[in-house]
């Protein structure tokens, strides 16, 4: 058992979240975009567990289970979409999927 105040793991979660955010905003490859989303989800899961620890309640871990649940569903759909996009665009570049851009007429 560690003897930490709750701010330390929260700070860790924040750092991980921001790293995920950087990846999401910077990378063009859809694989890394999906991965960045996973990182951010994971950071949130850590936050929940930290909160559970802070209040001595199992609710934090229950929320962690739901987050994993969500991550599983999300990654399944995300990966399928990634595969479809790859067959359509023959690339993983997210900037290539810009058919919904504004076209000046």
């Amino acid at each position: 058992m560690v003897d930490l105040s709750w701010q330390v793991p929260t700070a860790l979660a924040s750092v991980l979240f921001i790293i995920g955010l950087l990846g999401l905003l910077a990378r063009r490859s859809l694989v890394f975009v999906l991965m960045s989303i996973e990182i951010m989800l994971n950071a949130v899961a850590l936050l929940f567990v930290t909160a559970g620890m802070r209040w001595g309640s199992p609710d934090g871990q229950i929320m962690f289970i739901f987050v994993i649940n969500l991550a599983g569903a999300e990654i399944a759909l995300g990966l399928i979409l990634l595969l479809r996009l790859r067959t359509r665009l023959t690339t993983l570049d997210s900037d290539a999927a810009n058919l919904l851009r504004d076209v000046q007429v």
């Binding site: 905003l25 900037d95 810009n98 919904l100």
Partner: protein, 624 residues
């Protein structure tokens, strides 16, 4: 007999309905029959009621026929009832009889017009509405009739609507009278609120109970009603619509704009005279306004060249006399002058119409001339009507009624002699301008050839009305001619007895008879010297132009009312209020154009913007 009263307004209404529904498929003779017979039968019933009344009038001199209840509210109930008393009886008789004669005249006058059945629909509807106005026992019902005749007047003035000028004249008459009617409606509502009833007789009784003499409320109510009356009766300052209303067919001018509708203002005041007696200031204003009106209109009539406009101005002037009588409380004199005026002015208009029929609808008196021998019927009837209008003593009805008015005015305690002087001057000018017309139209060289001939349907109304113009005055005669007092006696139960005046100053009395003769003499002199003819061709000077335009009221109204209103209309045409609404849509479109640039299609950039929003939200939560 009295129980048939409801048929009197209903028959013309039925005629209008029948013609309105089937007029398009009926042959012309059938249209004429329905249109004329409906009013004719109404006239017969009205006359029977009148004769019956003469013999055995009800003890109260009032007969009320309740038809049905119209509005029933907790504090106000309005019933559709017909109220017959001597005043409305007199009005009803004149409307149905003169109306019938004019209908008869119209059947020939309007023959061949493509709107033949439409014409009779309007005319029948008018008679029905006018009878409703006269017989209504309730102010609100009367207002319905009041607006009904207004609508019919509008429809008939604009009867030949293919000419834009006629449509303009119709609109003008409608709008001007509507403006006055709004004041009247406000007055009616004021009475309803203050007195709790609009049924005329209980309302008047209550007004006497509640309001002291000369109080502000009766003055306000009477003033508002008066404005409505002035508008309908074309008195200053509302007189401008009547000369333009001559755009309608001539029989219409005879019926609506001379004999009946325009006298509705006089009738309204006589009907509610108890209220006006509570407001002496308003009565004073009526007489002063009437004196101004009759002089201005008479002067304007002096320079007109269109025969119908002369008659229109003379109508304004003659109704001015009625208002003069009303203003000094001489109710019977006003009603008597209404009676004689209805007869002789209808005669004058019909004669003018008869002349125009034979002259290819020429109405300029300077293009007529020498018609005395060409169309003797029109000449004699116009001459008799003119004599009555000019109030030539003894031989004409107009002289008796005008004398009665002047006699009553003289004894008004405040400014009686002044008003009397105005009336006398008016009589002089009246005689001058109508003699001018007679001389120019019927004497001298022939300028336009006549064509065609008159049928019996033209001749009969002219002859009957001419006879009436000579004889109807003998119902009420001054002392030295027998002293008949039939009109006064008839009306006494309704309007109260007029105090018997002491004999007038013999000089003043005589001057009332001399003035018309003097006027004729002036006109004759000027005609002989060729002044009228020269003045018509000469370049008119400023005064003459002013008189010709009816003293510039139109121009003044154009500047102070019409133009600001039109400017307002132009301003509002593009819907400044809508700018708020369209502004929102314009803003939305601008925003759309600006924001669509952000649609780059790059998911990363969208995510970035979502992030910016999130950071801002968190910042608000954290730092605020």
């Amino acid at each position: 007999m009295n129980n048939l009263l409801w048929l009197v307004p209903t028959l013309p209404l039925l005629g209008a309905l029948l013609l309105g529904l089937f007029g398009a498929v009926l042959p012309a003779w059938c249209t004429a029959l329905i249109g004329t017979a409906s009013v004719g039968i109404a006239a017969i019933i009205a006359s029977s009621i009148g004769i019956h009344w003469y013999g055995n009038a009800p003890a109260s001199h009032v007969f009320v026929q309740d038809l049905w209840s119209w509005i029933d509210l907790p504090h106000l109930s309005i019933g559709l009832s017909l109220y017959l008393d001597p005043v409305s009886l007199l009005m009803m008789l004149v409307i149905t009889t003169v109306g019938f004669l004019i209908h008869l005249f119209s059947t020939e006058y309007m023959a061949g017009d493509e709107g033949y059945s439409r014409y009779f629909v309007y005319l029948n509807l008018f008679v029905a509405a006018m009878l409703l106005l006269v017989l209504a026992s309730d102010l609100l019902v009367m207002f319905v009739g009041w607006e009904g005749v207004g609508v019919c007047s509008y429809l008939l003035v604009g009867f030949w609507f293919h000419k834009p000028a006629n449509g303009y004249a119709a609109r003008k008459s409608f709008v001007v009278t509507r403006i006055a009617d709004i004041a009247m409606l406000v007055g009616i509502l004021l009475l309803a609120v203050k007195l709790g009833t609009l049924s005329i007789q209980p309302m008047l009784a209550r007004a006497v109970e509640v309001w002291p003499h000369g109080d502000v409320w009766p003055s306000l109510a009477a003033g508002l009603l008066l404005i409505g009356g002035l508008g309908k009766s074309a008195q200053v300052p509302f007189q401008t619509w009547l000369p333009d209303a001559m755009a309608g067919p001539t029989p219409v001018s005879a019926l609506i704009h001379a004999a009946t509708m325009v006298t509705a203002g006089v009738y309204l005041i006589v009907r509610t005279h108890v209220l006006f007696l509570l407001a002496p200031d308003v009565l004073m204003a009526i007489s002063i306004g009437a004196a101004i009106t009759l002089l201005l209109a008479a002067l304007a009539a002096l320079v007109q060249s269109d025969i119908k406009r002369v008659l229109a101005y003379s109508t304004i002037s003659q109704i001015g006399y009625m208002f003069l009588a009303v203003g000094v409380g001489a109710w019977s004199a006003a009603m008597f002058h209404f009676l004689t005026h209805a007869v002789f002015k209808a005669l004058l208009f019909l004669s003018a119409g008869a002349i125009a029929m034979r002259l290819h609808h020429e109405q300029n008196i300077f293009k007529m001339g020498g018609l005395r021998n060409k169309i003797p019927l029109a000449f004699w009837s116009f001459l008799i009507g003119s004599a009555s209008l000019a109030a030539l003593p003894v031989v004409s009805a107009g002289s008796f009624s005008k004398e009665m008015i002047l006699g009553s005015v003289w004894f008004d305690p405040t400014i009686g002699p002044l008003l009397w002087g105005a009336g006398l001057l008016g009589a002089l000018i009246t005689a001058t301008y109508i003699s001018r017309v007679v001389f120019l139209v019927f004497f001298g060289p022939v300028r336009t050839e006549v064509s065609g001939r008159y049928g019996v349907r033209i001749a009969v109304p002219l002859i009957v009305l001419a006879a009436g113009s000579m004889l109807v005055g003998w119902l009420e005669t001054p002392g030295f001619l027998g002293g008949n007092r039939m009109v006064t006696v008839l009306l006494r139960p309704a309007v109260g007895a007029v105090g018997i005046h002491p004999a007038m100053d013999i000089l003043a009395d005589a001057s009332g008879y001399i003035a018309p003769l003097l006027g004729v003499a002036i006109a004759f002199t000027l005609y002989r010297s060729g002044y009228w003819q020269r003045a018509a061709t000469a370049q008119p000077n400023a005064l003459r132009r002013l008189m010709h335009s009816g003293f510039g009221f139109d121009a003044v109204y154009d500047v102070i009312l019409v133009r600001p209103f039109m400017a307002l209309v132009r301003g509002l045409r593009n819907d400044p209020v809508d700018l708020v609404i369209t502004g929102i849509s314009v803003l939305a479109i601008r925003l759309h154009r600006a924001l669509r640039r952000s649609q780059v299609g790059q998911v990363r950039r969208y995510a970035g913007w979502v992030m910016v929003g999130s950071i801002a939200t968190v910042a608000i939560l954290v730092f605020a």
